[in-house]
């Protein structure tokens, strides 16, 4: 698969490493050149410096050939915009974005976007653990 990841933080870098190790073609984009330092030297994917809410940058990243687009910067609005561009403008088959704000994630999900709130996931997990006691 051809996978583009926006945001090279802990989650983005880990996803990139994982998919690259599984022989997928991975491109990871970030606005901060230093963010790529978390990737190990044996990372087999491509790093691209830039803002993935910019259409031209997405084209440079090969979005027209992408099978999946994952937006995991720490900015909910940026993730939402990039994910919507990937889905609505470039028709990428699988688009996933992270939104910390559970209400915003729920709203964008109602528009058909696969928006995941890590806050909600963690809260649910903790809730279950407390209940199990």
């Amino acid at each position: 698969m051809n996978i583009i990841i926006m945001g090279c933080g802990r989650v983005g870098a880990e996803l990139a490493r994982l998919f690259a190790a599984e022989e997928h073609k991975v491109t990871i984009i970030d606005v901060d050149a230093n963010s790529f330092d978390v990737l190990l030297t044996d990372f087999g994917g491509t790093t691209l410096l830039g803002d993935a809410t910019d259409e031209e940058m997405l084209e440079k990243a090969g979005i027209t050939e992408a099978d999946a687009f994952i937006a995991v910067t720490r900015d909910d609005d940026k993730n939402g915009m990039a994910a919507q561009i990937a889905k609505q403008i470039f028709n990428v088959p699988k688009v996933i974005c992270r939104m910390y704000d559970p209400l915003q994630a729920e709203f964008f999900a109602s528009l058909g976007l696969e928006a995941i709130s890590p806050v909600l996931l963690f809260v649910q997990l903790v809730k279950e653990k407390i209940r199990d006691n």
Partner: protein
């Protein structure tokens, strides 16, 4: 009328001042606490220090009863998210966004935010007018009616000394005002004879500026 403005920068402030001066109720949502303090000093208690794309903040701002929602932050992604929420979750009647990067305008339109003003175009056209060297300048775009208001300059050549009815200007260009140096501006008639240097305010179908410009250059 109750308007919510997201972004308390120069533009957001100027807008708020206009609304207030016309007796409308307004609230600015601004994320920087220091800017909120300035807003308070300048305009009174009309700001909420929060994030304009946060549903909880919008609810606190009373978005359910807002008539107009305007996003003018310097970040297009923030403006887009805020407007999508205002329009599609809260059904605000008029949702308007500033689009900082003109290339993003079509993305906003595709995502249903079609009432946009791009942050470059109007400034660019105003500067073009002031240089005095451009044959055609865009004044305003009536997007919903698919019409544009443009200002053109009559060049030296065959068009000068020709009456409007004999001119080669496109028939769908409606010439609504003639501005002549040193004279009173007037609404031209078919008999009006053009002079080199005349300026014409024309209403034309969207996207037809090029054919008007070509007719002028002939």
């Amino acid at each position: 009328m109750y308007s919510i403005i997201v972004g308390g920068g120069d533009l957001g402030r100027a807008l708020a001042r206009e609304f207030l001066a016309n007796g409308h109720e307004v609230l600015i949502i601004e994320k920087e606490a220091a800017t909120c303090e300035q807003l308070k000093d300048e305009l009174g208690s009309v700001s909420l220090c929060s994030i304009g794309s946060e549903i909880a903040a919008l609810t606190r701002a009373g978005i359910e009863r807002a008539d107009i929602f305007i996003a003018v932050t310097p970040e297009d992604d923030d403006n887009l998210a805020a407007c999508e929420i205002a329009k599609r979750k809260f059904n605000v009647n008029r949702v308007i966004s500033k689009v900082n990067n003109p290339r993003n305008e079509h993305i906003f339109a595709k995502l249903g935010i079609d009432c946009t003003v791009n942050g470059v175009g109007p400034v660019l056209e105003n500067i073009k007018i002031l240089t005095g060297i451009f044959p055609l300048v865009h004044l305003f775009n009536f997007k919903e009616k698919e019409l544009e208001l443009v200002l053109v300059k009559v060049p030296d050549g065959p068009l000068a000394d020709t009456s409007l009815k004999d001119s080669v200007l496109p028939v769908d260009a409606m010439i609504i005002l003639l501005i002549r140096q040193g004279e009173k501006s007037e609404i031209p008639t078919p008999e009006t004879v053009l002079q080199a240097g005349d300026e014409l305010v024309c209403l034309i179908p969207s996207g037809s500026a090029k054919s008007l410009q070509a007719a002028l250059a002939n």
